[in-house]
């Protein structure tokens, strides 16, 4: 008997219950069951990073996590980055530095950048490029993304003063 599984998890600070098939990825569950379509499907095999979310305190590609593995975990998606007061400084920095063109990779880049700056508030260019190597962008050529991350680091540092 093929039964769906009841999963209880926490997404962007809220308790969420959903039913899924064990074969469904967390990305499919977020987009097609829960309706959080900010995380994007690019390659569906862990290369492109467009589906990046924070899972259990660490960024992962949600296409390579099963929805059932979310049981009891905490997840942050791109929808959890901005607050009710407005965009997050990383999002502002991406916009103002034109760090996106088509935009499909952007949610993944922003979630990955937030994890980087939470862990290392003042990364070098090398550290930024190394950390973001699992996020692919086919439009910008990456330089503007690196500038945006450096700008975001500066904004976050001055907001803490």
């Amino acid at each position: 008997m093929n039964a769906k599984v009841h999963v209880q998890t926490k997404i962007n600070g809220e308790n969420v219950d959903f039913l899924c098939e064990p074969r469904q990825s967390l990305l499919e569950c977020l987009r097609d069951i829960i309706g959080l379509t900010g995380s994007k499907e690019g390659c569906n095999d862990g290369n492109c990073g467009a589906c990046t979310v924070v899972f259990d305190g660490r960024i992962v590609t949600s296409c390579l996590v099963l929805g059932v593995e979310a049981q009891g975990k905490e997840i942050t998606t791109i929808e959890g980055i901005a607050s009710s007061e407005g965009l997050h400084p990383i999002q502002e920095a991406f916009l103002e530095n034109a760090a996106l063109q088509c935009g499909i990779c952007t949610p993944g880049f922003i979630v990955a950048t937030k994890a980087l700056l939470d862990h290392n508030p003042n990364p070098s260019e090398y550290q930024i490029r190394f950390w973001l190597a699992n996020n692919l962008c086919r439009c910008t050529g990456y330089d503007k993304i690196v500038f945006a991350v450096q700008d975001a680091a500066g904004r976050l540092a001055s907001s803490k003063k």
Partner: protein, 290 residues
């Protein structure tokens, strides 16, 4: 992906019972960065996914100065390279764990999974072979210990029977005057498959090689242990001539193929150059080791 059941056993015995029941139709899930890709590509077919992340023995990351380091098969790379004992005593492990995939992959992927996937290019395996790591394998007939150099058999083939599971990797206790290093050549800076990978380990005594172990990836159907590199220089002076001699033995042992990543000639050349460079770093580390 076709319908597949999912179960998360909480003890090793439960997991072994499931493997005995389902055999090759059970897919073992740790980080999933190989399993889920293979299932989706229909390169593997499983009826049930056995998630091993809830089993205590597979989550061990224990260090003891006398017995060494035990890394459970389900421990993800980021936990390994952030561990203070690994940083202090086993920098060679960090060389591998920090370059498998990118940041997101390292959040899930495990060294045990890298070994069980048994790719000829596995980044974690040459370092394990060089450091003399043994695998603890459990099955319905009990537990056995297997040196890593005997684990892989061919691309995606290894010694695990359908009812067996890799429990942990056991790194020997750290010794003074020892150092290890893993480096690879890839055309990009990160996120790529090794054209050649080299893991080395040295133990020095009075400026002589007391022990030297070299292992190569991507130059044969499985990662190989180059015994001749050690036998050619053990007991001899630590100098450029002997480093070059060990590197030449690595080149001779490499039996690569030509494919889209590199030719036979290029891979043999890389085996020599990378062995030389890896040995230089390992020797520096041995001189600084505690």
């Amino acid at each position: 992906m076709k319908w597949v059941d999912y179960i998360q056993p909480s003890t090793l015995d439960d997991a072994l019972g499931l493997l005995k029941k389902h055999g090759e139709k059970a897919g073992i899930l740790a980080g999933g960065t190989d399993l889920l890709v293979l299932l989706r590509a229909k390169a593997k077919s499983s009826d049930i996914i056995v998630d091993i992340k809830n089993i205590a023995e597979l989550n061990q990351l224990d260090f003891d100065k006398k017995t060494g380091l035990t890394i459970g098969a389900a421990v993800p790379c980021y936990k390994i390279y952030n561990d203070s004992n690994v940083k202090k005593y086993y920098p060679g492990i960090i060389d591998s764990a920090s370059i498998i995939g990118g940041t997101q992959i390292q959040g899930r992927a495990t060294l045990g999974g890298n070994l069980c996937n048994s790719a000829p290019s596995a980044d974690a395996v040459p370092g394990m072979i060089a450091m003399g790591v043994t695998c603890k394998v459990a099955g319905s007939n009990g537990v056995r210990e297997v040196p890593v150099e005997e684990f892989c058999l061919a691309p995606r083939k290894n010694i695990l029977k359908p009812d067996e599971i890799l429990v942990s990797l056991n790194y020997p206790a750290p010794k003074p005057n020892t150092g290890s290093r893993y480096i690879r050549f890839i055309p990009r800076n990160e996120m790529d498959i090794a054209v050649v990978g080299v893991g080395v380990y040295v133990e020095l005594e009075n400026n002589k090689f007391k022990d030297l172990r070299v292992s190569l990836a991507s130059v044969a159907p499985k990662p190989i242990f180059v015994q001749e590199a050690g036998t050619s220089v053990v007991g001899k002076e630590v100098n450029e001539e002997n480093i070059n001699l060990a590197a030449l033995k690595a080149k001779e042992a490499a039996k690569p193929i030509t494919d889209m990543r590199g030719t036979i000639e290029f891979r043999k050349h890389l085996s020599e150059v990378l062995t030389k460079r890896a040995l230089q770093t390992a020797i520096e580390r041995a001189k600084e080791s505690v």
